[in-house]
Homo-oligomer: 224 residues x 3
């Protein structure tokens, strides 16, 4: 019984990460739709798409029927996140850039990167495949939501968003490769992803554009 | 022989619904492309995408090779719908909002919701999964066509479009749950979907936006 | 040894076509992102999406785990194409319409149409399915890249882009149907696709719009 008390979460790392990710991303997606002044149906659709698109894509890639379609619990968690967003919105002035929204997004990113790495490893894809599926699980929901809202996915413009999931997935592969347990790899993956993401947001990190690297010669070269 | 005469359609509800949906949605999609002044190739592409995207997504979700790729009849039905759209356009002044187009869209929505519910039930997904796949089968084609045309999918803004398919899929699950035959569930699903859709179009139904529910406080509050 | 020298490529037509297509399309996609002034991460993402989206969609349609996720070589070829684009850009003034870019695009289109036809034939889909998968493999990457960049896919507006892949895939089916070997069908498919594409670019081919066919009556008809 003591054992059961001190290790309740590691029992199934995937279930923990998936639960956290679904609620967090449904909240983030719904907040975005509220800001766009969508109606209740639109808020629910954008929230649920943000929550589920990454995991459904992950499941399609490893060639299985999406978990979201075979489990009742999943949709309930998504609806909980939508309800939280509506509740938070009535309590806060500008929730879109609110610390709760930014934190939820970072936590969801980390949780889904980890869930994706676990599923991909169990499916037996290559190391690159594990990193790719971790990243797709993490960023797929936000990207599909942006496409539905008819704008270019922000993941293409925010350098340290997808990159954080790539870092987390890579660490998961490394920890697993040196013999670490699944629960250890999951904890390290989630910590690296959420840590790099929150640090990047706090310090405004970005990568150099090609122009800054001197690759482009569009400028008039009268100085030569 | 009498038996063959009195029950020709219920023999395979999926085949009936799929046939009706393919022709109707190819017609609707092609009409949209004609209005955008696309050339013949573009008209055919948008019409066929509208007809096939929902069913292909459905088949991917239940983990099978899309029917559209294994059957010759499917593409023929899609081309028939494209040809009908071109023919109608030369006969009518403004076919985009024409009763025939609106009716085709409602009939296609109902037919594909029913086809999706049948396939999902046979694949053994959860009740939520049946409703989700029915809805995706019904609205996927229009959503993908809108994304190709670089605009936000209209299904996000028209409250009683996807909702009608959700209602139809839910009724399918209920009729099946209380022991109804597949053909009965299919007939009721199609009737509920097309009925709610046509009623919504006729009376201009819409859901309240979040703002109307008092969730948003963007307005200046000097009146307080 | 002489045999090894005179037939090194036909040994595995799929591997040859896939290799050529990945490098060529990663180069074309990255060039597009450089022109949009994306940063290094964005350039890599758009290049890799252009290279992989078609093949991943192909693999999902024939119901197998995408090759890109199970093979290390694939991602290496994509990165090679991205690096080539960055290298070329620093060496050329306006690479977007440069003959090297146009040629790479035509070669990638032909290579992926052929790779798609080979995979589809081995998966046992219908003749229409072979042509459809060849076309999706060939144009999918460019279409998804355009959607990510928030614009309507150019394949809808350039009549002789997807059409060239349709022609190549059709020829593949015909050559296979009359008893030709896989390597022969692959060579003819690639030649027809790249040939029609380069000819269309050179001579500016386009199909008539519906308006030119007399289908539309939007103009005032005061002349009647």
């Amino acid at each position: 019984m003591v054992v059961a008390l001190i290790e309740p979460l590691p029992a199934d790392p995937f279930a923990v990460m998936n639960t956290v990710g679904l609620v967090a991303f449904a909240l983030v997606g719904s907040t975005k739709a509220i800001r766009e002044e969508f109606d209740v149906f639109g808020i629910a659709v954008v929230g649920l798409v943000t929550a589920f698109a990454g995991g459904v894509t992950r499941d399609l890639l490893v060639d299985r029927v999406p978990l979201a379609l075979t489990s009742f619990g999943e949709i309930g968690l998504g609806i909980l996140g939508v309800a939280l967003a509506i509740g938070l919105h009535s309590a806060l002035e500008s929730p879109d850039g609110h610390p709760i929204t930014l934190l939820s997004d970072a936590v969801g990113l980390a949780a889904f990167a980890t869930a994706g790495a676990i599923v991909a490893t169990e499916a037996g894809v290559s190391s690159f495949g594990v990193v790719a599926i971790a990243t797709i699980n993490a960023v797929g929901g936000g990207a599909v939501a942006d496409i539905l809202l008819d704008r270019a996915p922000f993941i293409l413009f925010d350098d340290f968003y997808a990159s954080c999931a790539v870092a987390g997935g890579s660490v998961y592969v490394i920890v697993g490769g040196i013999g670490g347990m699944e629960s250890t790899a999951a904890a390290v993956c989630a910590a690296v992803t959420v840590g790099t993401r929150l640090t990047a947001v706090t310090y405004g990190w970005s990568l150099p554009a090609a122009q800054m690297l001197g690759f482009v010669r569009d400028e008039p070269r009268d100085s030569q």
